[in-house]
């Protein structure tokens, strides 16, 4: 079933729509004033997913050399992780 969905619906149009919906969810989290560790981790995972979709399917880096994939995805996930760690440290002080 999942393979069927991916095969038939995984395209740049669906990715654009998914990223728009994820952005709206990010906005409403802010609008409703939610905060805290869980919310922040959700926001960062959302940003990392959107970033990964841009790298993979908009920049079309799927299938390029491992080095460049490591550079781009590495940048995205290291930055998101560092922000998460800094945030969690802030909570403990």
């Amino acid at each position: 079933m999942i393979q069927y969905l991916i095969k038939n619906y995984y395209n740049v149009h669906a990715i654009w729509l998914l990223m728009m919906l994820l952005t709206v969810s990010t906005y409403f989290i802010g609008r409703l004033g939610y905060s805290g560790a869980i919310i922040t981790l959700f926001l960062l995972v959302t940003a990392a997913i959107k970033g990964s979709l841009i790298i993979r399917d908009f920049m079309e880096l799927k299938g390029v050399s491992l080095a460049w994939q490591l550079i781009m995805y590495g940048w995205l996930w290291v930055v998101c992780l560092a922000i998460a760690v800094a945030y969690l440290i802030g909570l403990t002080l």
Partner: protein
């Protein structure tokens, strides 16, 4: 196991080296923001509420859509549809201009309230980060505009469209950076 030759990077290698350097600068900027926030959580949380979250969200939607339009432009030129390629690039430029307009509205309100780079640390980060990104949006739009002009002069085809991919790659980087900047500065608290 059959070894599959890695695909070439879309566009010029030079643009990817430039993208990588830009990402390093932005990445460092984001981490410094996150670390400096540790010592000033109340202050950051307090002044974050003064930001225009609606304009920030609208700008995110605009940049994602603009990036999507550029993907359509690349797909069009790959099937030799020059006209459609030009159309999608101008659509991307229009949404990019929308970003600049909304951002300018946001800045005019901010400066009208007497806020500037030396008001406090939060505003220093907010203004310097978003202004730095603003300049990259302008540069990205100049690159896309140059691609559109060359496309109109018949420079690109299904066999030769490296320039389109180069401009597209840079524009996606501008979007990728904003995807992190928006939640970090406007939402996370």
């Amino acid at each position: 196991m059959d070894y599959r030759e890695p695909k070439l990077l879309p566009g010029d290698l030079a643009i990817w080296l430039f993208i990588f350097m830009e990402l390093l600068v932005f990445g460092l900027f984001f981490i410094v923001y996150a670390v400096m926030r540790i010592q000033n959580i109340e202050m950051f949380n307090h002044y974050q509420l003064t930001l225009n979250r609606e304009l920030g969200a609208a700008n995110t939607l605009l940049l994602i859509t603009s990036s999507y339009f550029v993907v359509r432009a690349v797909h069009a030129i790959r099937v030799d549809n020059v006209k459609k390629c030009i159309y999608w690039i101008y659509a991307a430029l229009a949404t990019g201009a929308g970003f600049l307009i909304l951002k300018s509205v946001e800045y005019s309100d901010t400066f009208a309230a007497g806020i500037n780079l030396s008001t406090n640390m939060f505003y220093m980060f907010y203004l310097s980060l978003t202004l730095f990104h603003f300049l990259h949006v302008i540069l990205g739009m100049l690159i896309l505009f140059a691609v559109a002009i060359k496309a109109q002069r018949g420079a690109y085809s299904a066999q030769n469209h490296t320039g389109v991919e180069t401009g597209a790659s840079y524009w996606h980087m501008v979007d990728l950076v904003w995807i992190i900047l928006f939640p970090l500065v406007y939402i996370i608290r």
